[in-house]
Amino acid sequence: MTVSDKLFSKADFPVFEKYKDLVYLDNSATQQKPRQVLERVEEYYREENANPLRGLYDLSVKATDAYENSREKVREFIGANSTKEIIFTRNASESLNLIAYSWGRENITSGDEILVAISEHHSDLLPWQLLAKEKGATLKYLDCDKFGKYTADDLKKALTSRTKIFAIAQISNVFGRVNPIKEFAKICHENGTLIVCDGAQSVPHIPVDVNDLDVDFLAFSGHKMLAPMGIGVLYGREELLEKMPPFLSGGEMIEYVTREGATYAELPHKFEAGTVNVGGAVGLAAAIDYINDIGFEAIEKRENELTELAFNEMKKIPYVNIIGSEKAEDHHGILTFTIEGVHPHDIAAIFDADNIAIRAGHHCAQPLHQHLSVQSTTRMSLAFYNDEEDIKRFIETLKTIRRRMGYDR
């Protein structure tokens, strides 16, 4: 079987064996898992499971190796300099909270400014909102235009000498547009501002290199990139992580503990309290192998082709309004839309009746919806394992929505 055969079929994904008629178009929320990932997780629990890092016996060493080899795999995948810079968390939200709690509580003081892009997902907004409140800092927003675009000029204008940190996703989960992170990182650093990049929607879809982007922190989730739920990654520049205090405390993040205090373990274990998710980490490593096997060139090509197909068909339907850019190539598999006169919940329910899974609501991005003056929206988000048939079925149902809601009868 060639790579492209494999890429364009769903044969690796057992969920589609069970639900043969399912069209799954909610990939921004979570992706389905290929057999290779599921089998690797099972193999770990069958053959290598023990509490890692603690046990003085062979099986514990195996578990430790499985865990640390996964960390090396992640390091290589995002181009970090050292495995000390790769912290395993539960998900992107926990990664972002870690930065806000640990770095934020040490470095933000009253009168400082925190800048957040208006399109941020709540995970990359609420930790900053809470931090600003707690410290008496000011939370400022960087607004985008109606196409979801942010400009360097807007960023330069928004930064002040008090802006300590800027948080922005590389790809918004509503617009699908790729933000110019590298350019923004340069502008931030010239201003003495750190940049946090939420890579939840980019790492699974485009090559991401933290050194090339020059971001200070990058957060992403395993489950949005074929891996199990409950494993996520925080990348941080080593010198920043070194200076940060622990986030959660407990087992295996300490060096010495006395009645009075403790010294903490070296990076990255300082930030990984308690028994870690080795099964999740090996699943993430298997997912990275799977992605590398196909290659981002093929993944991007496939996802862009499917996006364009869906976009062009949606454009033909007069009452469908696509949120964000008017060019298909700016959407990267994410098409958020409204239908005149029909509430997104009803749209999703009708899709569900036709066995098509899409998302409705505000996609955990309420301030953005307020900014765009829409109450809520509907989103289809695809992955490389979707196919033309999925898009065809999506469009067929889309065409029937208004009629089924009692219009044009």
């Binding site: 029909v342 509430h343 997104p344 919940h345 009803d346 329910a349 009708i350 569900d352 009746a353 036709d354 409705a360 609501g361 505000h362 309420q366 919806h369 109450q375 809520s376 089924r404 809601m405 009692g406 219009y407």
Partner: protein, 142 residues
């Protein structure tokens, strides 16, 4: 199922609601919100001498929440608060799937929402107005 579900009764109440308007002099007003989807309604009731003499709703929501609110008002206007609470209890029973045929009759058009009991994701939409009414009758908001 959904084709039937969004049948004429629901579509009609969603597209042409009788009670979707302001009621500036209402004696009671109460807001209801579904935080997960952002649907919010404001329920207005006029209660005089122990009878709900008029009622309306405003706000934004999906077809199910809108139709449910409209049908609910249709049912409770002209009734006492206790009767309205009784209908709410029947509605709860219907959504839980434990309603008898006789009780379903009593709910009249609200019976059109019976299939919501098979759509767990939409229960909150259907319940929004009913929960808001119960909150109002139990002294919530003003």
């Amino acid at each position: 199922m959904t084709d039937n579900f969004y049948g004429e009764v629901l579509a009609d109440h969603n597209l042409h609601p009788l009670h979707r308007h302001d009621l500036p002099d209402a004696t009671h007003v109460c807001k209801g919100l579904n935080p997960t989807c952002g649907d919010d309604i404001e329920l207005h009731l006029d209660i005089h001498d122990g009878v709900i003499t008029d009622g309306s709703f405003t706000g934004l929501g999906c077809a199910i929440s809108q139709a449910s609110a409209d049908i609910m008002l249709e049912l409770i206007i002209g009734k006492t608060p206790d009767e309205a609470r009784y209908y709410a209890s029947l509605f709860h029973k219907m959504i839980e799937g434990i309603i008898t045929d006789e009780e379903l009759e009593e709910l009249e058009e609200a019976g059109a929402l019976q299939n919501v009991s098979k759509m767990p994701a939409r229960v909150k939409c259907a319940m929004l107005s009913w929960n808001t009414m119960e909150k109002l009758l139990n002294g919530g908001d003003s």
